[in-house]
Amino acid sequence: MKKLINDPKSVVDESVQGFGQAHADLVTVSADPTYITRKDAPVSGKVGLVSGGGSGHEPLHAGFVGRGMLDAAVPGAVFTSPTPDQILPATLAVNSGAGVVHIVKNYTGDVLNFETAGELAEAEGVNVRTVLVNDDVAVEDSLYTAGRRGVGGTVLVEKIAGAAAERGDGLDAVASIGERVNSNVRTMGVALTACTVPHAGSPSFDLAEDEIEIGIGIHGEPGRHRIAMENADGITDRLLEPVLTDLRITSGDKVLLFVNGMGGTPLSELYIVYRRAAQVLADRGVAVERSLVGNYITALEMQGCSISVLRLDDELTELWDAPVHTAALRWGV
């Protein structure tokens, strides 16, 4: 394992410190317990947005703290959801009185820890709503009752719910916009290589030079099945098809197409995937109205990508376009 780190145990702390220093104009970093808040939090009258989860998915979530997106991010250890004693103070710190929305990726650990923190916050008089993100079509939830994972769609939920909060929507409205995004987005991912969790020291799975994992999440876990390596167009088709089917995308639909890198794949390859996906959508009469290409929700240095499709309506498009000013996503300001 070769990494630009000092000690596996200090990876998250040091990285978050560096993040805070590099973006001191945008965020405040609280240590012990660790969480990151928007510099001007709490924003008077605004619903607060808190997300969090295990580290190792950067820029998610800290990179999305700022105007028009999250008010706070709560990073756990690498691939380990944060604890209520982090989530609670972050929730309190961004509550202006208008209540707080927790955006939670659907993993047992995240759900349980946010649930506890939410109860504790309610006990302290904060209204909390939870938006559960579970956009991963690789998991067939009928059989496997932990349900689908929250993956690429999380970025879109955070951006769009963040815009709704910024324009002044109330607590229930922000949560319901978040849920609307979640029910209109699906994602599927592929890994070309594994990743190495710093404290584990060896790759999360072993993959031969001619094999890839289809249906992976963002935690270096193996996928649903392993297949022989294919070319980019073939892989793109494999990822896109179940997404479109599950979302029942039909001719005339307007969508946002999000090609996300898992951390170790060059941007140039993501655009090759984007090209094919855009082509397939065009062939089916689907209008790609917005796009996002890059490393936004990652699994350390894993090579691979995920494709997310979000069905747009006018309001979602408007909220997507609304100004956002965070370390990792910025426009209109």
Binding site: P33, G54, G76, A77, V78, F79, T80, S81, P82, T83, P84, D85, Y107, T108, G109, L112, N113, E115, T116, A138, V139, E140, L143, Y144, T145, A146, R149, V197, H199, A200, S202, S204, F205, G217, H219, G220, E221, P222, R224, H225
Partner: protein, 210 residues
Amino acid sequence: MVLDVNWTVKWLTLCAQAMAEHRVELIELDRAIGDSDHGENMDRGFQAVLDKLSDSPPETPGAALKLTAMTLMSKVGGAAGPLYGTAFLRAATSLGDSPEIAPAAWAGALTAARDGIVARGKAEPGDKTMVDAWTPAAEAASQAAADGSPDALTVLVAAAEAAEAGAVATDPLVARKGRASYLGERSAGHRDPGAASSALILRAAVKAAA
């Protein structure tokens, strides 16, 4: 053997030792069907428990377990943190503030812990989770405690052995809860890491009494 607060602290100390010793093994188990963090999480959590125990030494077994619950809840994270946190909290509650744990109380504590895990995690036996260690452990302890007038060690041993057998029995299962469930059929053939750490915890209880 009396299961008093000294025994409880010794048990928790041996838990911390077991997690440190088996850290890599638990990481490896989690690597196969999860995300490679279980050993790290448990080790971090129980080291914090040790610190807490020496900072504010508890007066009763129940107090020790409550302190453990709160610490695990705030230091472990992931799925295991809240689940073990709830387990220890329910066990603490079931023990109240009595200075000693009678064999039947131990069985009751394990049952409360198991029920807490099920309440939080909604897993059933056979879902390939730590429930598969705690359920047979609680049952074996209850049975041993009901069996005439057993000494504490017998009950502890019954629970530990049942937990160990339960952990081994997760090997062929297909996971239906937790992270391993995302693998579907591919989760079969690997031991559940949470069941394995549960067995270590209950084995430490035996060692503390030995």
